[in-house]
């Protein structure tokens, strides 16, 4: 076992073995030997797990040092398979670094398993598409009475004890409360009431939040181990790391990768463009790359033009004030993101909220506000802007876009859709909720999205008509005052987006198949906005490996994500959990209710043999009683990963008494066995 350098994973996965010659097809022998090797690895892994039932559960490793990034790879290639130089003894034990089951197809993987999982089984694929029928997700499950009761009681306990501790603490140990009390003529920087929640509730489970990590936030992630000896006031870092299955990052399409075509492109862009664009867009911070990326984004979402901002949050907060002002009305979903609320407040427009995703409530509100006009004066509103999100990040619910577009025809409001989480992640072509519902993108006035999620980059975009975008270039706060997007980030966007779209013509030295594919592409373009990116739209220096260039890998990623999302959400319901949101959403909140169980859930997940990191959220991010854990799936996950997660949920769910859903129940084995059936069910 210590002979790890010759590990099967060290074979050069084709496609990125030699960055420059990425276009050349891999020699057959490599692929075959790779598969054989995988099989051997798998056999080894299986015998491992059979023999060693009780091995160390967490993988503790020395801290990442700069020199250790490149693992000792096999002599032949420049391949780096894992930057995690942990003890090879534990390798493969948890299925995180090497697949438990070898691929069944002839597929060759060009990714690192710990970053982007190897899943060759083509039945584990699905297409993310609205199938018509009832729209409402089943969010109405009520937990049993005693759960609600105990949840309320635990909050009351927490609050009462918190106040008592504050009361006595201030008397007995006033030094600890100094920053909460006026002193020396200064008022307290934050009052004890404002910070009560943070100090008395959140601090108890601070070990579940803001866990520092290192490396790629891909399929797995490396946590920096920490302990606290003073009830989470401070943390001690042991210097070791734990690799865990990552169902928390917004890495929907798995583009968070340190290797592969996109990363190669980014490296090239750093060489060519440097780090920064050095200024605001209107003041000398624009480069040709900005224009190329914006054109590509517009094409991707099916609009005339697009504007890129260097931060997703700022995309909302700096654009909305340029669209609405005093005398305008903004109607906002009650669960809209903080950045939207920030922008709305800056705009000075009047705001009304409607019940989350409730089209009836929205229509009633529209009728009221249009007929009543502005408050007091009853003058008609200058304009009404409806702001919704495509996919709500805490609820997992999709906007009812067809119904809203219907309303828009009648009530003439302008529609602003924040596709932060849905762009890339939803729809058969990854074009977001538009694509998912098959609506015309031009029915939406303003399309906003971020690159932090599906594209593994950062920043955001606004897309719409040329007139709108040109105006926004001048009037949004970002134009003159925000730093422009850095070239490396732009390149990641262009490369990942192009590989979702596919590039046409596919390859300059055309293979015999090229002609039919092209005519097919043309047909698609004619039918709708969805088509490949013209090669001319990409920077000339950008060379993508063939599987990214022809869009095949992009498609594969979309289909894997769609499968994973649907599988997990349906499986959890079958296991008896209460979840929120739509089946096709890659965000799946599982309701926990009790604040105490929430942190237990998080800790138990992390302490498993295959550690899993999860996001737990509670008040104030959610309503008081509906504390939840939120899973974000990725195309990088394999079915095995979802199974591992399901098993963990199943076991912990039994311990913590979380299974209160109604409807038919399946056993874990049944769920795992009938996964495809579960996904294909209407």
């Amino acid at each position: 076992m210590p002979s790890q350098p010759s590990s099967p994973m060290a074979f050069p996965p084709p496609g990125f073995s030699k960055r420059k010659s990425a276009i050349a097809l891999p020699p057959q022998s490599t692929a075959v030997s790779y598969l054989t090797a995988l099989q051997q690895a798998d056999a080894k892994a299986r015998s491992n797990s059979a023999s060693s039932a009780a091995t160390v559960s967490t993988l503790s490793t020395p801290a990442l040092s700069t020199s250790s990034s490149m693992s000792s790879s096999s002599s032949s290639a420049t391949t780096v398979l894992d930057d995690d130089p942990y003890d090879p003894k534990h390798d493969g034990d948890d299925g995180l670094s090497r697949p438990a089951v070898p691929p069944t197809s002839e597929q060759v993987f060009s990714t690192i398993h710990s970053e982007f999982g190897h899943c060759g089984n083509q039945t584990y694929r699905h297409t993310s598409k609205y199938s018509g029928g009832a729209f409402d997700p089943a969010n109405s499950h009520e937990p049993p009475y005693y759960i609600l009761l105990s949840t309320y009681i635990s909050y009351i306990f927490l609050i009462v004890i918190g106040h008592m501790r504050d009361y006595f603490g201030k008397k007995l140990r006033s030094a600890n409360y100094k920053h909460l009390m006026p002193s020396n003529g200064y008022a307290a920087l934050n009052s004890d009431f404002d910070s009560f929640y943070t100090r008395r509730l959140k601090a108890r489970m601070d070990d579940c939040f803001s866990r520092p990590v290192t490396g790629v936030p891909g399929r797995t992630i490396a946590l920096l181990d920490r302990t606290s000896s003073d009830y989470n006031a401070t943390f001690d870092y042991s210097g070791t790391r734990t690799r865990a299955l990552n169902v928390s990052s917004y890495n929907y399409l798995g583009f968070a990768q340190a290797r592969g075509g996109c990363a190669d492109a980014v490296e090239e862009s750093i060489k060519r463009y440097g780090i920064s664009a050095c200024g605001a867009r209107l003041e000398g911070g624009s480069t040709d790359l900005h224009l190329q990326a914006e054109a590509l984004v517009a094409r991707f979402v099916g609009q005339e033009d697009a504007l890129i901002t260097s931060m997703g949050y700022a995309t909302n907060s700096t654009t909305i004030p340029a669209l609405a002002s005093k005398g305008c009305l903004i109607i906002s979903d009650e669960f809209n993101h903080a950045s939207i609320r920030f922008g709305v407040r800056l705009s000075g427009a009047s705001v009304r909220m409607f019940k989350h995703n409730d089209v009836q409530d929205l229509e009633a509100l529209l009728r009221e506000v249009i007929s009543q006009g502005q408050p007091r004066t009853h003058r008609p509103w200058k304009k009404i802007l409806l702001i919704v999100e495509g996919l709500y990040s805490m609820e997992g619910s999709l906007v009812n876009l067809p119904a809203i577009i219907e309303l828009k025809r009648k009530y003439k409001f302008y529609l602003y859709v924040d596709e932060a989480h849905s762009i890339g992640a939803m729809g058969p072509h990854g074009r977001g909720v538009i694509d998912y519902f098959g609506v015309n993108p031009r029915d939406i006035d303003i399309m906003m999205g971020t690159f932090t999620k599906s594209f593994g980059a950062s920043g955001g975009y606004i897309s719409g008509s040329t007139a709108l975008i040109s105006r926004l270039r001048l009037c949004s706060h970002a134009g003159p005052y925000c730093e422009s997007m850095t070239p490396s980030v732009l390149t990641q966007i262009v490369a990942s987006m192009a590989s979702i779209m596919g590039v046409s013509p596919p390859l300059p030295p055309a293979s015999p198949l090229a002609t039919p594919t092209r005519s097919l592409d043309v047909a698609i373009v004619e039918k709708s906005f969805i088509g490949p990116a013209p090669a001319a739209a990409l920077p000339t220096w950008l060379s993508l490996p063939p599987q990214l260039r022809d869009g095949s890998e992009g498609k594969e990623r979309l289909r894997r994500l769609a499968f994973n999302a649907r599988y997990l959400s349906r499986a959890l319901v079958k296991l008896g959990f209460i979840t929120y949101g739509h089946d096709d959403s890659p965000i799946i909140p599982l309701l926990i209710f009790n604040p105490g169980k929430m942190c237990l859930f998080s800790r138990m997940m992390l302490e498993r043999k295959t550690p899993i990191v999860v996001v737990v959220v509670a008040y104030p991010a959610t309503p008081l009683v509906t504390s939840r854990v939120r899973f974000c799936l990725s195309a990088a996950h394999t079915k095995d990963d979802v199974d591992v997660l399901l098993k963990a949920c199943d076991e912990i769910g039994d311990v913590l008494d979380l299974k209160h859903g109604d409807g038919e129940r399946w056993t874990l084995e049944e769920v795992m066995r009938r996964a495809t059936e579960l996904v294909r069910m209407p």
Partner: protein
């Protein structure tokens, strides 16, 4: 028996009063419409489940308390509501014609858009534009000349191979990377504060920092000339704002005193009080007199929020900013905000201060909490930038020499005025108002030291509740912008890239005077900078010399 009777008789008047008052309460309660329903509801639910009532009562109390605390109170549409028939509503809906979403572009804006310079390839001291021309760059922020630095690029590429690009999550949810923590430490130790926090965009930093601390009822005393991001942060905070004249410590002192007087008169409780200003002002390059500011803040017990976005990485021997320049310990500034995008040619912004200040933002800084953390390679580039500044003080020396060189060329010109401080690497150029030949109005004090108290004495102080000063300077925005744009184009034709300071006309608190904004860099030699300044000078003379107005 007697004892008992005595006891009842003594309690009688007490219970009588009690019953009476209870009666009154009950009657007033019953008078409230809908109270009967409430009573019935409570009764029935109490019957079903007595514990629930108790819990709910407690929860209601909490709900009311949070509602009262809530800063966004629901609109009261009640009394103003007009009842309409469905048919009438339909008609109104049909009749309503909204304004267009945005105003269509007029010619000026179209020209404006077309004139935005676009660089082909890397930005730097001598970039190539998309038209193929190579220019000398006095427009982009590359103060210490870190853009294109090979060793920083190497580090970024190494980081890319370890971390990928995006962090795919907000800091609270597995978006905190070790490189972020490292950068925060680097900044804190560079500046000499207890700790620091990084935001993923410079502009959004101060916008979030101000409302994280300044709440409704708190007092902000701010400079009239603060940049747009600060204005927005102040707007979001909903604090009480008092304005003092731009970069005028005397005016600041007056305002502080008037606030103290007001507080005393109204017997207002002790609230948080902040002075918000910039180190070097984005809008005109003026520099604040930091020691004086600190003296005032300590005297009046205010906390200082200082935006060093244009002084961090720019002034001081190693670019630590104003604190280094004035030799003031950074710990004296309660909340110090700066930009890694401007000062370190990377991205993002930071806030440095004491632990309590920084930790508070980790939960309350909205754009920190609700936004993905910055890409690892940009954080590493920023750390590498700091390392460069520390290890190579010559970068800053070169920058300052270049600034001086440009100033010595431009200062002598009499068709313009320069409001910027001689040490500022951003240099604003105003057109000198030719009508009177006068210099600037007192609200624009050209240098920090020569406070024009004589000019001030002639005027009554401005009203601190209004952001507008008493006699704002007069200028014709459209005409001046056109002239300045001509200068920009003339310079570009001669191979020097400069830019007008772009503004959001109509959205600014006070319309800043149109200006050309130069950004000096250490990436050029003194000769090159002098030559470029010469080009700017002749462009100014050429355009402004022949104007008639």
């Amino acid at each position: 028996m007697a004892d008992a009777a005595a006891a009842t008789s003594t309690t009688d008047p007490l219970s009588a009063v009690l019953y009476q008052s209870l009666d009154v309460v009950q009657r007033t309660f019953n008078a409230i419409p809908g109270s009967a329903v409430l009573v019935r509801y409570v009764k029935s639910s109490h019957q079903n489940d007595p514990y629930r009532t108790i819990l709910e009562v407690i929860l209601i109390i909490f709900a009311i308390r949070t509602l009262l605390q809530s800063r966004t109170r629901a609109e009261k549409s009640g009394k103003n509501f007009i009842k309409l028939e469905e048919k009438e509503i339909d008609d109104l809906v049909d009749e309503w014609i909204p304004e267009p979403l945005v105003a269509p572009l007029d010619d000026t804006s179209r020209t404006e858009l077309a004139s935005v310079p676009v660089i082909a390839g890397a930005s730097g001291p001598k970039p190539k534009l998309v038209n193929g021309k190579t220019v000398v760059n006095l427009a982009s922020y590359n103060f210490a000349g870190l853009a294109g630095n090979e060793s920083i690029k190497e580090k970024a590429m190494d980081t890319l191979r370890k971390y990928g690009l995006g962090s795919c999550g907000p800091p609270g949810f597995y978006g905190t990377l070790d490189v972020h923590v490292q950068l925060e430490r680097d900044i804190a130790s560079f500046l000499g504060t207890e700790s620091a926090i990084i935001y993923s965009q410079g502009f959004s930093t101060i916008c979030s920092v101000i409302p994280a601390f300044c709440k409704r009822g708190d007092i902000i005393v701010a400079d009239r000339g603060v940049n747009f991001a600060i204005q927005k942060g102040i707007q979001i905070s909903r604090s009480t704002v008092r304005w003092y004249d731009h970069n005028d410590p005397n005016s600041l002192e007056e305002v502080l005193e008037s606030v103290a007087k007001e507080m005393k008169k109204k017997r207002l409780p002790l609230t948080r009080r902040f002075i918000v200003t910039e180190g070097i002002f984005q809008n005109d390059g003026a520099m604040v007199d930091l020691p004086k500011l600190i003296k005032l803040k300590l005297k009046h017990k205010y906390r200082l929020i200082l935006d060093e976005s244009f002084s961090f990485g720019v002034v001081g021997r190693t670019g630590r900013g104003l604190t280094e320049l004035y030799n003031v310990p950074a710990a004296q500034i309660d909340i110090l905000v700066g930009s890694m995008a401007n000062g370190l040619c990377s991205a993002g912004g930071f806030c440095a201060g004491a632990n309590v200040v920084v930790d508070h933002q980790r939960i309350n800084g909205t754009s920190f909490v609700y936004s993905a953390s910055m890409p690892a390679l940009l954080a590493v580039s920023a750390s590498a930038g700091i390392e460069m500044l520390v290890s190579t003080p010559s970068l800053l020396t070169t920058l300052h020499e270049n600034v001086l060189a440009v100033r010595s060329v431009l200062d002598k010109l009499d068709c313009i005025t320069i409001p910027s401080h001689p040490a500022s690497a951003i240099i604003h150029i105003f057109i000198r108002s030719s009508a009177t030949g006068s210099t600037l109005s007192p609200s624009y004090v050209p240098t920090f030291s020569g406070v024009s108290s004589s000019a001030n004495a002639a005027h009554k102080p401005s009203n601190p509740t209004s952001v507008l000063s008493r006699d704002p300077e007069q200028f014709d925005i459209a005409a001046e912008e056109r002239l300045l744009q001509d200068v920009v184009e003339e310079a570009l034709a001669q191979g020097v890239l400069i830019t007008r300071a772009k503004r959001l006309r109509g959205q600014e608190a006070v319309e800043p005077r149109p200006s050309i904004r130069l950004a000096i860099t250490a990436g050029l030699t003194r000769k090159e900078v002098e030559k470029a300044a010469g080009v700017v000078k002749s462009a100014l003379i050429k355009v402004l010399g022949k104007r008639r107005y």
